[in-house]
């Protein structure tokens, strides 16, 4: 089984994230997108079960290679970073088309997945948090999408997921090749040990630009950020330590402030 796992290197959600000139400031405190750890875990576990290889694929600035290295430590066999100045600030469709071209190249095809059986992604990236990329990438590759998997089973020719979104619980399946996005419920990502970290240093990572993918300059997105402002942080208000009356005091406060 040949599995491509798509990952993103993003500013740590625990860090001071901010925008400059309408763009997210990157490169200060970036980590492998936490939700992509579940994708890497799913891919590595499947190859442990079924045999094959995992290729970690990331589009981003060159230091996104750090995110790929993390995936290699978690058990991916090789990595690809797609990096090109023309891709700075790329929107979802552009990202999807670029990643699709990279998957095609990995699969040995001009378009479509070639010999790649499965593409796995996380459910969302914690920077833009759109969760639109998995479906968009499946569209660009013309493969079925099984998104937001809470659990995943894969046989030689079919993938089956269970998921629950809102109040709907469903089981979906699709023939391979297919794309699956996994939620943070799907598994418990492994923590690489020292041996795994050392082994990862020897694994190959390719860096490709748009030319390597046979893509021209990126099309106009049609969407441009024109205004961005930091919202005032929420401030702490009244804090009471319960000395036996806190429930009553809170009730009075809620009523006084017309909140109930």
């Amino acid at each position: 089984m040949k599995i491509v796992v798509c990952i993103k290197h993003v500013p740590d959600v625990q860090s001071e994230r901010r925008l400059e000139e309408g763009r997210l400031v990157r490169g200060e405190d970036d980590v492998l997108n936490e939700l992509d750890e579940n994708a890497v875990e799913a891919a590595v576990a499947l190859v442990e079960e079924l045999g094959g290889e995992v290729i970690a694929l990331c589009m981003g600035p060159e230091d996104a290679e750090d995110g790929v290295r993390r995936a290699l430590q978690m058990g991916a066999d090789s990595g690809v970073v797609v990096s090109d100045d023309a891709l700075v600030g790329a929107d979802v469709p552009t990202t999807a088309r670029t990643l699709a071209a990279a998957v095609s190249k990995i699969g040995g095809a001009d378009s479509g997945p070639g010999d790649v059986d499965l593409v796995i992604t996380g459910m969302a990236s914690l920077d833009a948090m759109t969760s639109m990329l998995p479906g968009a990438l499946a569209a660009a590759l013309h493969v079925p999408a099984l998104t937001l998997a809470g659990s995943l089973e894969v046989s030689a020719d079919e993938a089956t997921i269970t998921r629950s979104t809102g109040t709907v619980r469903e089981v979906l399946s699709a023939p391979l090749p297919a794309l699956v996005s996994v939620t943070d419920q799907a598994n418990e990502p492994r923590y690489p040990n020292f041996a795994a970290m050392r082994a990862a240093r020897k694994k190959p990572v390719d860096v490709w630009d748009l030319g390597d993918l046979g893509l021209d300059a990126v099309a106009e997105a049609g969407i441009a950020v024109v205004d961005f402002t930091e919202r005032p942080a929420r401030e702490a208000g009244v804090i009471r330590t319960d000395a036996g009356e806190a429930g009553r005091e809170l009730a009075a406060w809620l009523v006084e402030n017309n909140l109930v």
Binding site: L19, L24, L148, A236
Partner: protein, 332 residues
């Protein structure tokens, strides 16, 4: 042409309830579209609607309804996205609007790739300035807000997912009560058709106010130790929806659909009350839209107290029953 309006049609994807009527969110979306254009608002209902629904859509401002027979498969996002693509090709609207839940966002992303156009998600506010559409949204866990211009051109129709809860529903248009319901031919792509729905259940956890739209939410955290009775004793008299932290869902105390936060629902109630919630960033990123935040937690160092408007450091098992009793007394 009225000012600050587009003069090209808008297509709105209409989600429906299990009974086949448009959801409140879908109707709000039609109202949003109505306020943006002087031309037609076209409702797209993949899979069809109850016959009575066209009058409801007309009252919200739709001029016609497109229905597509998708063999009961419209629940698959790619199938619904193919319907959006077909509707856009047939109507040539300035913009297509969908709801901003996970399904809506998947539909928007897929449709935009297939149309060669742009998409935006989680938009809270839309307005027309000159001949341009302006979309605003919160980003970075609600800590920043951004506004973008969207070139609304019918040769590259953008697909935008909008949070209907952020929008004041327009007063019903005094239009036709009966609007035409027309069939739409949707050529299904092979990859959309290949997704098989093996089973599908809708849980009745939907009873009570909807979390995403509720005005009051009581959240069950680890500190409630699974005591749903305690949570209900506060939520029910306040007519509040019940939310939960991931821990409470992982423990199986409550349905996953109740999870609030980064990988759950984002909420924007006027009142949030967290019971035994510590306030991890993964959780609080989903409550930035709350008007007032109240927390009861026994750990005075818990990060939730850094953002609470009113915090009680105490044991939920003691504070909540007293709170409930006193509220009942004060409210008569």
């Amino acid at each position: 042409m009225p000012e600050n309006m587009l003069n090209a049609p808008i297509v709105v994807l209409v989600d429906r309830t299990p009974e086949g009527i448009p959801t409140a969110g879908a109707l709000a979306l039609v109202s949003v579209a109505r306020a943006l254009t002087s031309a037609e608002v076209v409702a797209l209902a993949p899979g069809g609607l109850e016959p009575s629904a066209s009058a409801v859509l007309a009252a919200a401002g739709a001029a016609r309804v497109l229905v597509a027979d998708l063999d009961g498969r419209e629940a698959v996002a790619a199938v619904a996205a193919d319907a959006v693509v077909a509707a856009v090709r047939s109507v040539r609207p300035a913009v297509a609007l969908v709801g901003s839940d996970y399904r809506g966002k998947e539909i928007a992303g897929r449709a935009a790739v297939l149309l060669g156009s742009a998409c935006a998600s989680d938009v809270g506010d839309l307005e027309v300035v000159g001949s341009e559409l302006r979309a605003s949204k919160l980003v970075l866990s609600g800590t920043w807000s951004t506004t973008m211009t969207v070139s609304a051109q019918s040769d590259h129709t953008p697909v935008i997912s909008v949070h209907p809860s952020a929008v004041e529903p327009a007063s019903p248009a005094a239009g036709e009560a009966e609007i035409p319901v027309e069939p739409l031919d949707v050529p299904l792509s092979a990859e959309a058709a290949a997704v098989k729905v093996v089973s599908r259940e809708v849980s009745d956890a939907a009873a009570g106010p909807d979390l995403a739209e509720a005005q009051r939410v009581v959240v069950m955290g680890r500190g409630t130790d699974g005591d749903l009775g305690l949570v209900h004793s506060l939520a029910d008299p306040l007519d509040a929806a019940i939310g939960a932290t991931r821990v409470a869902c992982d423990e199986g105390w409550i349905e996953r659909s109740a999870q609030v936060g980064q990988t759950g629902v984002s909420i924007a109630p006027s009142l949030y009350i967290g019971l035994g919630v510590s306030g991890a960033v993964h959780h609080t990123s989903g409550i930035q839209g709350a008007g007032t935040i109240v927390a009861v937690c026994d750990d005075s160092e818990a990060p939730i107290f850094e953002m609470a408007d009113y915090g009680v450091v105490g044991d939920v098992a003691e504070v909540v029953p007293q709170l409930v009793e006193e509220l009942a007394r004060l409210r008569g």
